[in-house]
Symmetry: D2
Subunit: 343 residues, 4 copies
């Protein structure tokens, strides 16, 4: 009987528990696998800290946010017991034949390296930012977009009542997917993403145009958005030459700038961690369950060094190195398509 | 300036308003089109019953359920003013150059025929059942699944408190997509779809196995599911030789049969129309908005006889006849993948 | 140390777990009590079937629907081990000094009798129907109203799209509180409650008047509503002389009658069990937590024969017999206040 | 026929539209009143800026957040046209006989003064903070608590996954009602309110105790909470001698202090404006509708100088000066009741 260890690594993400449940249900029923969970991501693997995972353990997990295994930013090459050789010994001692690593880009890179060094490892891509290439969507993203969209729906009525401009800052450091989708769903008048800097003059032009039509402007901004012309008072310059906010998030930087330039009372809300917790949407639960089930097939077929991914409506498998080749950012057509109706 | 008429036909579906809004916003801004809406589906087109659609009209529509244009099951070849020739004259009289028909299979078939007879027509696929081929998902489906999943979440706690078997009947006459996805998301112990009849003995075996593990069975059934061995008392035979329920839906047929055979108190809930109304999920709003925007490109490029569709993360265009070639039902692998963990 | 047994009896109700959690947290921390739970309502008490309840057991229960203790319609005078004398022996054997019974009218009546026969018992009122006198609201009611209101919100958009009359049947056999509140919140055009029969002619007059204003009629009906003039075909006569539906609920009886008389396409939805399951609203969680905390004070002060209740914003205590004296139905002023704006 | 003007003043609050709808529906139907709305609160009254309010205008408003009349912080004694004498002339010119002012403490005080100077005015209390005396609850509060509770539910799973302490800052400058209720509903481990300062040592003792039990601490803090011992680096001293945060909200002040003292990674979320916008809960819609209906009775009976209020389950009327006599803060018993189970 193959004994499989699962770990969840990096930032929390709605659907992690559904992946675990899907893997355990299919693995035990179809492939005759048995499962342990490594606690707190790679730390549990490195330190041999495990819990048993059987059918009763994963009961009711599909709708539960978070991860029963815990997560951390600890890496597999960290500490005195880290590294492929030590991990190999630890796995042998625990009688674990294969590892399923659920995580983001960092996890995939570490998994690739461990795979190169002989560890039997497969992966499930995870990021609420949706910025992993080689998969149409990552689980958790749909929930984050839904939470952000509900926030826009609420802010919009308050904006209208007060004739204010409302700015909502959502997650997305390197990619603006959450901003793009929630802004589209919520009918935002401007959507600002890291991929496409816009000047404060342009933003204010949109805001003014909305106001002239008698409406209250709604601006959605990804945390990683930068102004090309951010003034010194609000920012420091990053290595890429672009200005970065000094205090608070970009939302809190933009609001007073918009208010000052347009004369329209402007309020910022930073949505923060509520985007990555709680009950997953049905979409994310289905995707996560399918990925969890499919990754046990990879183990069964010993397709080490691969991770599962969504292509259209199919779950497929891709090599870690393929998955890591590109960062999936918002393409210019998707941005332009929305930009033409800003304002 | 191209003048475009939009109509929404067939059953209500969350996201219709978002399609309309997307089309009007992009069409007016980018392509210099102007828009009218035909009221109550094809009836408005046949009878020349229209409303103006401009930017203020579509304000705030992205998050609004239903359709501001109204819908009906009226067909374009119906009544004294129906048929391509009459419609052609009506369009000329109204100064409308092109028609965007948002609807399901029947609408696509009618659109194809009108196209063949010279009407400038393009389409947007719509069905909460998700059973249209040539598009990965149809808008409205995600909302229906979310509503059904929330119902499962609620029923599950009550089932557990009373140690009852709960049966939830969801929409899906010819295809079991809503049942499959909501059942997967909600962690159902059996998912019954029209595509794959199961015997009452098999269903009760699953129910009993759940009870033996100390849990309360949750069964999700699509309205079109049939028992191969449905007894005369509960059904009449359809043309396909399969039994059909006589009174109430299949959920209300199954519940007493399960209770009688297993001795487990069983309750049925028929979710009904709340699956096709109300605020769309963010996923559906984004998909609907993108489809609405893209269909104005078809008009602009005069690609008559095509409809927009989702392939992976891209909006593409497909011919009506291609779209009509196949009915998209749950494939056997998707069903088997879940079936192995039933019970 | 006082050892207290808790049981939950009768129909499931959102907030039961929050009551249990509130009692255990306050009882253990403030009064030095310790707790056991009787399984499946009175059955667990009668048969001595218990589980330990300590702080870890009640972790995370405030937002969890259902009851971890299980519930049933078993009564304390039922079976060979029922009755005050047997129960007294069972409690002594288990070392349990006092009983907290969470339940509805039947539970209160049984508790009163057990109290008269010397059992140390106190109560927490529970009914999603909100029909217990001596308490402003019962927990679970607010959640049921919220679920019903969300259903109305969804049905309304579909009704408007199709120009249909939508009928929603909600819970409430003897009292129309859920219908009254959800109908008010959802802006229904007619609210039909058991307390105030209305003729089908009157109902159709309201429906027609709505249609004449160009809107789609929304009718909310409590399951216990009866028509004074229900025709034989749809009903049998009850002992009170009023007609009762024969097949399906009252919603399914009304819909075809309305459609036949008004010519307006009419659809019924029966909401059913999803009203009594799932995550409680914040209101119900707060109320349930406060009641659970307060009932441990009754135990501490040995105020046997009392139950906790909500008066305004205060939790007070009332005798079981007081609580049982009257059934709280919708008062005529509350009904009339809404009735004047029907149609 | 009495012509009544309605205005909504101060901060946005879910349920304002339901009050307006309730008043117009009952006033026109029962009392033969007709209605106008003053735009943007007192500004519309002072400047004579009005819109007609009839039955079609208020269609569908019960579930709509915000206020169709707009709101502002403008006062009735402000500007060249302010003051009772000018207002009296404006009302006469518009043919308006009576004013319904929906607002908070400031609005009630201004209304009292206008009443003393002869204006026919009645009121509806409004504050999401729930801090108005003489009414059990104000509409909007329940929605704010629900939104905050949903945020806690989401943050809790993320806290558990990362073993972090999560701090949620909710509204409540002078009264901690939203924090108290959402913290109770969400099962927070510490609830910090303006009424009861707690030292950072005490807060960290609670946080540590939670961690020692193996759980992730959840702290809910009202924006008006202050630390008696806030260090200079984080605050400035207010006139009351208590320290006040200098940058960001109190949540952002507390998080690093907790992290530094306990060594537990701590994250703050400031919920902000989403608490006061969007779809109201069913509870708030019912309360708001009833208040709106009842205030037209005050107009009908010419009970000038009164506002409507909720006592238990009844809508009653109270004088403005009574209503203004006391600020309703969290009483010590309610706080202590929860405090004993903190940690």
């Amino acid at each position: 009987m193959t004994r499989v260890g699962i770990l969840t690594s990096g930032g929390d993400c709605p659907g992690l528990n559904a992946v675990i449940r899907g893997a355990v249900l299919k693995g035990t029923t179809v492939h005759g696998q048995e499962f342990v969970g490594f606690l707190d991501g790679w730390r549990g693997l490195v330190e041999g800290d495990v819990m048993e995972l059987d059918r009763p353990t994963v009961r009711g997990l599909s709708h539960q946010g978070g991860t029963i295994l815990g997560t951390s930013r600890f890496g597999p090459y960290q500490g005195p017991n880290g590294g492929a050789e030590n991990i190999s010994r630890t796995l042998a001692r625990l009688g674990v034949d294969a590892v399923i690593a659920i995580g983001g880009e960092g996890t995939a890179a570490a998994s690739q390296r461990l795979h190169d060094e002989g560890i039997h490892i497969v992966g499930v891509p995870k990021t609420i930012d949706n910025d992993l290439d080689q998969t149409d969507y990552t689980f958790g993203f749909d929930t984050a977009v839904e939470v952000a969209t509900e926030a826009i729906d609420r802010l919009r009525t308050t904006g209208n009542s007060h004739k204010r401009c409302m700015v909502l800052e959502v997650m997305g450091r390197g990619a603006g997917w959450i901003a793009l989708h929630s802004g589209t769903a919520g009918g935002a008048h401007a959507i600002l993403v890291p991929e496409f800097p816009e000047s404060i003059e342009q933003i204010c032009a949109w805001v003014n145009s909305v106001r002239e039509r008698g409406r209250s402007p709604m601006v959605v901004v990804a945390e990683g958005f930068t102004l090309p012309d951010m003034t010194h008072a609000h920012s420091t310059k990053g290595l890429d030459g672009f200005a970065r906010p000094r205090l608070g998030g970009i939302g809190e930087v933009l609001a007073p700038m918009i208010e000052e330039r347009t004369g329209i009372e402007t309020r910022a809300t930073v949505l923060g961690h509520i985007q990555r917790g709680g009950v997953p949407t049905a979409f994310d639960r289905v995707l996560a369950t399918r990925l969890g089930m499919a990754v046990t097939d990879l183990v069964d077929r010993q397709e080490w060094g691969n991770m599962v991914a969504l292509h259209g409506t199919d779950i497929v498998s891709v090599h870690f190195d393929e998955a890591l080749a590109d960062h999936k950012t918002v393409p210019v057509e998707r941005y332009q398509e929305m930009r033409v109706i800003f304002g």
